[in-house]
Symmetry: C2
């Protein structure tokens, strides 16, 4: 964290306003990227950007892009970005991706402009209950009372965001607290270490792992290469299986790393996965439950006689807990089973879902970041890519769709030297397609693949699952609500309209050629795969 | 309102589920249009659409389109539409346009699916505080407790939405209340008449109008042709001037109707407008205040010695109040000053803002519905179109941008025999561009004009107004946040990508030709005007 003195503000510059004190406090606290969609009440923040060049501010054309990008940034940078949003409606537009960020335990600082404190009483058109709107997705929430409070409030917000396992902090900045004279910038309290789990929790985990079929579900920072290797050693010794939640925030995987299975979306698949387990060890994960309820079916994925044991809570040090567990089991020197490199393949011919998975798995470059929202069309990709070149894999943690394009923006900003592969579906992609413009504007190295099946395909299955009837039982008016191919979306035109070059492919050969080319060349590209 | 018996459900059909009882209650209560973006928890609602053909359900690819369309529908149909939204994040995506709807006093019924009641405790990924998220924009809010409660809850929701002046009602439907066996459908209480204003309020208004320069600010249903004629008679007799709020929900205007001025967005313009007024009479309007606060400038637009008098509150009968006032003043037989028909004009040559206004004013067809979110590029359109062919004019009531394309969808659904002209700016249009797809899908008679100045132009002025510096004082990094032309958006490509034919024009002649053609021909079209 930079000391305030390093921020290079000449004493001759006169008093700062609140907005400048905020930006300097953010930068001093290690928050030097901001995804912004400003309005009138944020103009002093915007104007101050030229006085604080250390703040990297990136414009998006819709707030859902800002919040998703901040989520993606933090998942890859391991530190929060800020967003800059315009009053209650601006925050509201960003909420769906804050939902996903909250389920990912992402640290994130929202800065929300509001009317001047004295102006609120007049109920002018944009007056809104900003605190009420922000509350459901703000673990920490404060409205600055005066310009001299702003820097202290901002420092507290940053500390709150960074507190393990990561939180959403929202600072509301009335316009007059931005434009009035501020005090000094504030320093952020250093982070506390994550809590070390109790010996008893390690002991109990060891006992359970020794006494029958067991699963270890790993989430959070323990899904990185090092702790997964530790989990792998434990698995080799005990025969336990390693899983990650369906909605994992970020995992390091690929050839030469310890593989894990993802808990499937499908209820039957998930139930079968855990049916024989006598115990489940949770490392930063929550107990596995069904994504949705289905009539007469269970909400809990584990058998009644299966013990679910918390080795580490999301806010505890799961990495140290795995090491302590390996030590306790005598597994420190066991050999983890690493994933072998993928056998070369060049799938050809008509587009099929296994073919898509094979093309993607073969094309993932070394150190790539894969952001996956490919929905039903991409169900086979994770399994097929176990032996791909080592990469990071990012999933939708909260199930609110339209997350991948914005998260890809943030991941690319956090890691400018790594290629980003965004696997998107046509239905979910339409929620936040404005992200393509920011990708073009920032010339981000993001290759987007749109899997266009021209349906809300997942809902056709879900309709059957909830007892409303599958595709054969639904009438034409119901099916029309799940059909997005009337008219077809032309994703090449949509991408071009926002400055991203695009190509449509209808064979696996063409897909493979386009994907390999786009991942090799820097800068943005989009491929529409007609499924 | 249709009686339940008219809903044609054979007794042999067996018990309804909650979702079907909801749809039948909605239809019975006069809510027979629903703008939907469903998910798993809404599948029983979707499946029931084939059993209740009277419900017209329209798909949108983003929830902000659903809520905006429901707003536009009710503004034109004078009755609520429903939305169908998916849990907390789905509601959140629709909130910005609910903000605008709430400021328009639009009646609207949101149906929000949630997890089954027993599933919520498991905190699965999409679990959210739906009530907490919905509360800030729900005047009425309830979660159905069981399937047998659903129809009664829905009937109460409809009545709450329709209560004057119009409210947002949100009914949350846990999945098990949708799929379980329901009771009978419920009837909606008939609406109460709007309250008649007290004689004293009329008497006081008459006194003020007789005693010096006065303004009448008209909003709500009093902005229709009949009551405006009454206001015109009063104005002729007393010399009062007639105004509408900057954010008027809907006004009937054009040649042969009583003209009014719109309170401008600009603070200086608004202050000058009221500077000489000794009294302001509010008819369904709120006292005029500045859109934003500016340092050292007033929030209230009227002079200190100006009396602001409420003739009718938004929930009272402003139409009757105007008639009573005319009677009291002896103005029943005065001749209102009607707007003369616009002189023919055919502006040519390079694009200018007055030229755009002239082209639009000349092209507005008889009975058109104009939805205006043209921002700075369209500031002259309202003034220029005072004598256009008679039409309805719809504005952004809440200042949350991205309202016009969705509202145009709803207006076109409400009035399929009337052309809709959507005047949109490039910046605001990008918030909810997904509406173009619904326009194409439903083959709506909407002509969209995108005024592409490739900037957040309004913010350049606002930056100066708030003291952050105008275009000459802002640095390059600040200006870059107000610049959306890097890269340029290609609106023709974006429209084509969603199935809407488009054309780019760079001269006024070409604009006039394209606009006249597109307004004459049925179905969707888009014109990008490069400003």
């Amino acid at each position: 964290m930079k000391a305030p003195a390093a921020l290079d503000r000449p004493p001759s510059a006169g008093p700062m306003n609140g907005a400048e004190s905020l930006i300097r406090t953010l930068v001093g606290g290690g928050v030097d990227v901001c995804f912004a969609n400003p309005g009138t009440s944020e103009m002093h923040f915007v104007a101050a950007l030229d006085r604080v060049p250390a703040m990297h501010c990136i414009l998006a054309l819709f707030e859902g892009v800002c919040t998703g990008a901040a989520d993606g940034y933090a998942r890859m940078a391991d530190r929060p970005a800020a967003t800059l949003l315009h009053l209650g409606p601006g925050f509201a537009n960003g909420m769906a991706n804050l939902h996903n960020a909250s389920k990912a335990n992402t640290p994130l600082v929202n800065v929300v402009g509001d009317h001047a404190t004295y102006h609120r009483a007049y109920d002018s058109p944009l007056t809104s209950d900003v605190e009420g709107i922000a509350r459901p997705y703000s673990n920490w929430l404060r409205t600055s009372k005066s310009a001299t409070d702003v820097s202290g409030d901002a420092a507290t917000a940053i500390a709150a965001a960074r507190r393990a396992p990561g939180h959403i902090a929202t600072l509301i900045l009335p316009a007059n607290t931005a434009w009035s004279a501020a005090g000094d910038i504030a320093e952020v309290e250093p982070d506390e270490r994550r809590a070390i789990v109790a010996d008893a929790a390690v002991e109990r985990a060891a006992l359970l792992l020794r006494s029958g079929p067991a699963a270890i579900i790993v989430a959070g920072p323990a899904l990185r290469e090092g702790p997964l290797a530790t989990a792998g050693r434990i698995a080799t010794l005990t025969g336990a299986k390693i899983y990650a939640p369906y909605g994992m925030a970020r995992a390091e995987r690929g050839a030469g790393r310890v593989p894990f299975e993802r808990v499937p979306f499908s209820l039957d698949g998930a139930l079968a996965m855990f049916a024989q387990m006598r115990s489940i060890i949770l490392v930063g994960a929550t107990a596995p439950v069904a994504f949705f309820a289905y009539p007469g079916r269970p909400s809990v994925l584990t058998p009644d006689d299966c013990t679910v044991h918390v080795l580490s809570r999301p806010d505890e040090d799961g990495v140290a807990a795995l090491e302590a567990l390996a030590e306790r089991l005598g597994a420190r020197t066991s050999a983890p089973g690493f994933a072998p490199a993928l056998a070369p393949a060049s799938p050809q011919g008509p587009i099929t879902l296994p073919g898509i998975a094979a093309v993607v798995a073969a094309a993932i470059p070394q150190h790539a970041i894969v952001v996956d929202e490919s929905q039903t069309s991409g169900r086979a990709i994770m399994t097929t890519s176990i032996g791909s070149a080592p990469h990071d894999y990012i999933c939708n943690t909260g199930g609110s769709i339209g997350y991948a394009l914005p998260v890809a923006v943030g991941a690319a900003v956090a890691c400018p030297d790594r290629p980003v592969l965004c696997l998107e579906a046509d239905g979910s992609g339409m929620y936040t397609l404005q992200a393509l413009w920011t990708i073009a504007r920032e010339n981000l190295n993001v290759t987007t693949v749109i899997m266009a099946n021209r349906k809300y395909q997942v809902l056709i299955g879900e309709s059957k699952n909830v007892g409303a009837g599958g595709v054969e039982a639904l009438g034409p008016r119901a099916l029309d609500m799940l059909e997005i191919g009337r008219p077809n979306l032309d994703w090449v035109a949509l991408a071009n309209g926002m400055g991203v070059p695009g190509e449509r492919v209808t064979t696996l050969d063409a897909f493979a050629a386009a994907l390999q080319r786009d991942l090799r060349e820097p800068g943005p590209a989009l491929i529409e795969v007609v499924v």
